[in-house]
Chain length 339, copies 2
C-alpha cells in the first residue's frame, strides 16, 4: 500500500513509523508529511532516509492510506483532499471522533466497526483506548452501569516538547533552579496537576469530556454513566488509570481476572504478595495494557462493584499502535472483533 504519515516528525508520527516497521505492515511507498516548519527534515524508515514533505491539498495523489497525527484543525482542512484522492484516513486527532458517520475504533473492542467507514476511521483518545481495552471484556460479560476513573497521565500526551520539559525541568529543580513551565502550564517536575485541557462550563476539562463521550461510543453504549478526572503526573510515556466499576449483573473478582486473562491486548499484573501491579516502568514501550489490583469494591453490594488499576503506553496502544492495528483490520491482516 502507498502510505502517507501526516505529522511524521511529531512524537506520535515517529512512533507510527516504528510500529509500521516492527509489524511489517505492507508498505509499498511511504510519504512522510508535516507542516512547513518541518521542511527539509527527514525520517528513517526501514533503514532509509525519506524526506519529509509539507502537507498540502496535492499531497495525497496516489496514496491508499493516510495515518494522521496532526492537530484537529489541520486534519479538518486536509480531509476533503484526502477523500478526493480516494485514500482512507485513519485519524489520531479529535476532529472526527464524535462524527456519527465515522467509526471510532479500538480493534480489540469494536474492530468490526472499521467495515462501516465512509473514508475516515478515528483513533480514540489515549485514556479511552487504554480504558476500553481493560473494561470491554467485563462490559461484554455482565454490563457496566457506571465508571469512575481517575488518571495518572504522562507528559507524552502533550507532545515531544512536554516530554523534554519534564526532563529538563526536573534537572533544573534538582539543581536548585526555578521551574519555568513552557510546554505545560504548571510545573511538572515533582508535581501533579489537573489536566491542562480547557475547562468547560460544567467543570469538566476537554480531556475528561473526550474520555467520557468516546468511551460511550467505543462501547456502543450511549446510556453508560461515566465520570473522569484527568491528571498529569511526572511520567514520560505511559498512562495509569484507577478505575471503579458498577456492574449490571454480579461478577466475582476471580471471574473478572479470568475474563481479562483471556482478553486480547491485556496482560494481568496482579502480584499481591510481591506488591507488583501495573505501572509505567512495566508498560512503557510495550503493546499490551497491564491490568491489576482486580478486587471487589467493598463500597458496593457484593458482586456489583469492581476496582481495577491499569497502565498502558500512551504513544503505542494509546496512539500509534492502535492506529496501525486499525489499518491491519482494514487491509485484512487482522481479524475484526466486535460487540
Amino acid at each position: 500500500m502507498h502510505i502517507a504519515v501526516l505529522g511524521a516528525t511529531g512524537v506520535v508520527g515517529q512512533e507510527i513509523l516504528s510500529v509500521l516497521e516492527q509489524r511489517d505492515f505492507p508498505v509499498t511507498s511511504l510519504a512522510p508529511l508535516a507542516s512547513a516548519r518541518s521542511a527539509g527534515r527527514s525520517v528513517t524508515f526501514r533503514g532509509k532516509r525519506v524526506e519529509v514533505k509539507p502537507a498540502g491539498p496535492e499531497s495525497f495523489n496516489g496514496i491508499d492510506l493516510v495515518l494522521a497525527s496532526a492537530g484537529a484543525t489541520v486534519t479538518r482542512e486536509l480531509a476533503p483532499f484526502i477523500r478526493k484522492s480516494g485514500a482512507i484516513l485513519i485519524d489520531n486527532s479529535s476532529a472526527f471522533r464524535m462524527d456519527p458517520e465515522t467509526p471510532l475504533v479500538v480493534p480489540e473492542v469494536n474492530g468490526d466497526a472499521v467495515a462501516r467507514h465512509n473514508g475516515i476511521i478515528a483513533n480514540p483518545n489515549c485514556v479511552a483506548i487504554i480504558l476500553t481495552v481493560a473494561i470491554a471484556p467485563i462490559h461484554r460479560a455482565v454490563g457496566i452501569r457506571r465508571i469512575v476513573v481517575s488518571t495518572y497521565q504522562s507528559a507524552s500526551g502533550a507532545g515531544l516538547a512536554a516530554m523534554q520539559e519534564l526532563q529538563s525541568q526536573t534537572k533544573d529543580v534538582l539543581e536548585g533552579r526555578a521551574a519555568t513551565p513552557k510546554a505545560l502550564p504548571h510545573q511538572i517536575a515533582f508535581n501533579v496537576f489537573s489536566h491542562n485541557a480547557v475547562v468547560g462550563p460544567d467543570g469538566y476539562n476537554g480531556e475528561e469530556a473526550k474520555v467520557m463521550a468516546e468511551t460511550r461510543k467505543i462501547l456502543a453504549d450511549p446510556d453508560l454513566a461515566i465520570t473522569a478526572t484527568c491528571v498529569r503526573v511526572p511520567v514520560l510515556r505511559a498512562h495509569t488509570e484507577s478505575i471503579n466499576l458498577s456492574l449490571k449483573q454480579p461478577l466475582s473478582p476471580e471471574r473478572a481476572r479470568t475474563l481479562l486473562a483471556e482478553a486480547a491486548g491485556v496482560e494481568i499484573v496482579d502480584e499481591r504478595e510481591q506488591n507488583r501491579f501495573p505501572m509505567p516502568t512495566i508498560a512503557s514501550g510495550r503493546d499490551v495494557v497491564s491490568v491489576g489490583r482486580i478486587r471487589r469494591d467493598l463500597s458496593q453490594p457484593e458482586g456489583l462493584g469492581l476496582e481495577l488499576f491499569v497502565c498502558g503506553d500512551q504513544l503505542r496502544k494509546g496512539a500509534a499502535l492502535n492506529a496501525v492495528q486499525i489499518a491491519e483490520v482494514l487491509v485484512g491482516v487482522r481479524q475484526p472483533t466486535g460487540h
Copy 2:
C-alpha cells in the same frame, strides 16, 4: 507544659518541632526522644540545641504531653509507661487509631472528641486527614452515602529515606544510570505505583484499609460506604486526592463551594479559566487543605453526585500540624469543633 517528642529525629518529628515553634505552643521544657540509633544526635528548638535521648520506660517522668511519631510497635510498647507517668499521648502511629477507647481526631472535623480521651488521642492517617477536612462540611450539610477516592501520594509518607531516594534516583535516571529502589519497593523516579503497604486477602492494601476505616471513625459514620485506591507518585511532600461523592440529599456545586469556602482549614483553589487547581506546588509547606475541581458528577442524578480534587501537605496537616492542633484543643488554646 513539659513536652516529649517521640521520634524527634524523623521527618514528622522534625516537623512537629517546627510547628510547635511556629504556633508558639506553651512549651516549658522539651524532651526529644528517639531510638538508640539516634543516640548522640541533637535537634534545634527555639534557637537552642537539645540533645536527643533514647526513648525508654523512664523517659516520661514529669512529662505532661507526648507527641509521638514512632512506629506502631514501639508506641505500643511505650504506651503503658507513658500512661503510668500521667502524661497524655498524642500518637501519629496506627497503634491505637481503631481502638474504641481512643478518639481519632481531626480538629476541624471532630475536635470535640478530644474531651473523651482516656490518656491517648490518635492522629489519623495522612490521606484520611486531608480527605475528611475537605468532605466534612458536605457530610454535615447533606450526608455522604459513598466515597470513591484515588490518591496521588508523596514520598514523605514513607519517611525521609524515601524522599531522599526520590531525589537521588531521579538524578540517576536523568544521567542514564539504573534506578535502584531501596526505601521504596519500586522505581519512584518518573513512575507511579500502587501504594507499598501490604495487600490483604480482600485485595486492598494496608494504606487503603486505614483510609476507609479511619474516615468512617472520624466522621462518626460506621455505615459510610467508601473505597480507596492509594498510589505513590514522584512528589516530595504533598498528597493529592481525586474524590467522588454520592450524596444523601441534593447539593449544588455552587452551594458546596460556599460551604467549603466557609470551612476551617480549607482554601478554595478552583480557577477554571486559568486552569489552576489544587496541586503539590500550591499545598507544600502550607497548613490549609486546597480544594478545587468542584463540579457536579455527570454520572449521577443531578445534585446527588459531586467531584472534588484536593491537595494537602503530608508532613504538616497530614501529620505534624494535626497532632499539634489536637494538643491545642487539649490545652484549651483552640476551640473544639464537632459533629
